[in-house]
């Protein structure tokens, strides 16, 4: 597994690094001086009880939320507080915890918008979008990759919840990221859908780095190269799955209880 070579440590490159990142909402500290490092090519999973600040962290990396203090460095470049569109263009794509799609548009139109941003001429006011063969081909390619090709004409809101989660991933992939942020990709899915999603994520190429939030421990341990545990906004522990599952504090706080 890739985890072994990552554990060796020496030649790995830190793709994303947060330095003392903090976010406060009034008196509530959602993110408490989190310093985290994501290695290129790894599958890094963030876990923690509800309210631990996992989504807040992802939102700060993705640009939806402005940190109060600290830094986020992506490929050595300071992206702290940049607008979401800038961060996307720099190579970070994301899915959302609650489906954040173009509900009334078709699956194809959803993904095409993302492909258009990356590869098309979005400012073009005259040529019908369907005339761009390369655009359509690339869109269909992604639809096939995410097994949504036969649902392409349907409005997203008529899809099943699991299929909508897939569209979330399709859109994120269409932006051709180097780092993919997945916010609870299997949330609300049936066991079959979950297994499907896990299989899908597992076969994504290692040129793509993945940082994901997950609750389902089976998913976590089957996908993670490294795991970070958050608790009340603080980074409790970070390391290999084996280390984490044997970490006493983590057990006490999180793994022992529930799931």
């Amino acid at each position: 597994m890739g985890a072994q070579s990552l554990a060796a440590g020496s030649a790995t490159v830190s793709l994303l690094r947060t330095a003392d990142l903090s976010k406060s909402f009034g008196s509530v500290l959602a993110t408490d001086h989190v310093s985290l490092s994501i290695e290129a090519g790894e599958r890094h999973v963030i876990i923690g009880p509800n309210g631990a600040g996992k989504t807040s962290l992802l939102n700060q990396i993705g640009g939806q939320l402005k940190p109060t203090s600290g830094q986020i460095l992506f490929k050595k470049r300071d992206i702290t507080g940049l607008a979401p569109e800038r961060i996307c263009r720099l190579g970070i794509g994301r899915t959302f915890q609650k489906n954040n799609l173009f509900n009334r548009l078709s699956v194809l139109e959803n993904v095409r918008l993302a492909v258009l941003a990356r590869r098309g001429q979005p400012w073009n006011p005259y040529v019908p979008v369907t005339r761009f063969g390369a655009l359509e081909a690339r869109t269909v390619e992604i639809l096939e990759q995410t097994e949504l090709a036969d649902r392409r004409g349907e409005p997203v809101r008529s899809l099943s919840y699991g299929e909508q989660r897939q569209v979330e991933v399709a859109i994120a992939l269409a932006t051709e990221p180097e780092l993919l942020l997945l916010d609870e990709p299997t949330a609300g899915m049936s066991p079959a859908e979950t297994a499907h999603m896990v299989g899908f994520v597992a076969q994504l190429p290692r040129t793509l780095t993945i940082l994901m939030i997950e609750h389902d421990m089976q998913v976590v341990f089957s996908l993670a190269d490294r795991i970070t545990v958050l608790h009340y906004g603080r980074l409790l522990a970070s390391g290999l799955p084996a280390e984490i599952s044997h970490n006493a504090e983590v057990q006490r706080v999180y793994l022992g209880s529930a799931h």
Partner: protein, 320 residues
């Protein structure tokens, strides 16, 4: 999948039945083209007015219906269009058609400037600011008596022939419709719709939505100014009422009554609204009350508008 077959498949998907298809549209335009032969001055003038307001309503719908930006100051661009033609005609003897070109250019600049401020302060502030800016222009038109004639208004150069004006308006109506249709089918139109549907998703996908919103604002402003310029040409007289908030409100009503978010909707809305106005105004002086009441009823019970209702009933597959 090869590019060509992908394209063919996509076109197949996009080729959905239009409202009666293109045939109906051609027939309507043809009917409008020969109408002056059948109508006398009053009827022809009425149709001219309806058509130019159809242009105005379409331009507002680009903002409200397609990009999701509710503006309560669209009269600003109508007024810029009308006054530029009138003022340039009066001050420099400029031919109204050239005046109209200047009007569109000016409207674009003003829209870019106002848009920059209004769109930064997004959300509810946007509507407040568009109203405020439009009222500013209204006050200017009232106070700057030397140039605009103040509340007395001023004369505007015309083409000299009611028939010629009619055909000019009809031609521009068709051009604007086709242009909008093209725009909405093009990548830019898709982006506008994307912004309306889910702006945060658009941003997370790499779109600098603020820039596109300003662009929508500029396009809508320019087309709105075309309508205003045509009004000056048609009416021969321009007064501050072309900048009054009621016009912005009426434009919104036309769009919603007809069917917001479609291209045919505002056309139907403008036509119905104006025809009703002409009929009702002769019966009662409470036109404003009716407008308000209709608008309230529309928002409460008939949000999809006339065209929206027609589409849902009979053409669930249709696209605007």
């Amino acid at each position: 999948m090869s590019e060509r077959s992908a394209r063919a498949a996509a076109e197949d998907l996009a080729r959905r039945p239009l409202c009666g298809g293109w045939i109906a549209r051609v027939i309507i335009v043809a009917a409008l083209a020969v109408a002056p032969l059948a109508l006398r001055d009053y009827g022809r003038g009425l149709v001219s007015e309806v058509l130019l307001f159809c242009i105005f309503a379409m331009s507002l719908d680009l903002l409200v219906g397609f990009t999701g930006l509710i503006s309560f100051g669209h009269a600003a661009f109508f007024g810029i269009g009308a006054y530029t033609v009138a003022v340039l005609g009066a001050q420099f003897g400029l031919h109204p058609l050239l005046g109209a070109l200047a009007a569109v250019a000016l409207a674009g600049l003003v829209a870019a400037a106002i848009g920059f401020f209004c769109i930064r302060a997004s959300g509810v502030y946007f509507i407040m600011l568009t109203l405020a800016f439009a009222q500013l222009l209204y006050s200017v038109s009232l106070k700057w008596r030397a140039v605009t004639g103040g509340s007395d208004g001023m004369a505007s150069p015309q083409l000299g022939s009611g028939v010629a004006t009619y055909y000019l308006i009809l031609a521009l109506f068709v051009i604007v419709y086709l242009g909008m249709h093209r725009l909405l089918a093009a990548p830019l139109g898709q982006v506008f719709v994307g912004i309306r549907e889910n702006e945060s998703r658009m941003r997370a996908t790499g779109y600098a939505t603020a820039r596109y919103k300003v662009l929508a604002f500029v396009i809508a402003g320019c087309v709105g100014a075309i309508a205003g310029a045509l009004f000056a040409l048609h009416n021969g007289f321009v007064s501050p009422s072309v900048l009054f908030w009621a016009l912005s409100g009426e434009a919104l009503i036309m769009v919603i009554l007809g069917g917001v978010g479609t291209l045919v909707g505002p056309i139907i809305g403008a036509a119905v609204f104006l025809l009703l106005k002409h009929v009702v105004s002769t019966i009662t002086s409470h036109w404003e009350l009716l407008v308000g009441a209709t608008f309230i009823a529309c928002v409460l019970f008939f949000k999809q508008g006339i065209y929206g209702w027609v589409r849902n009933r009979w053409l669930p597959e249709a696209r605007p």
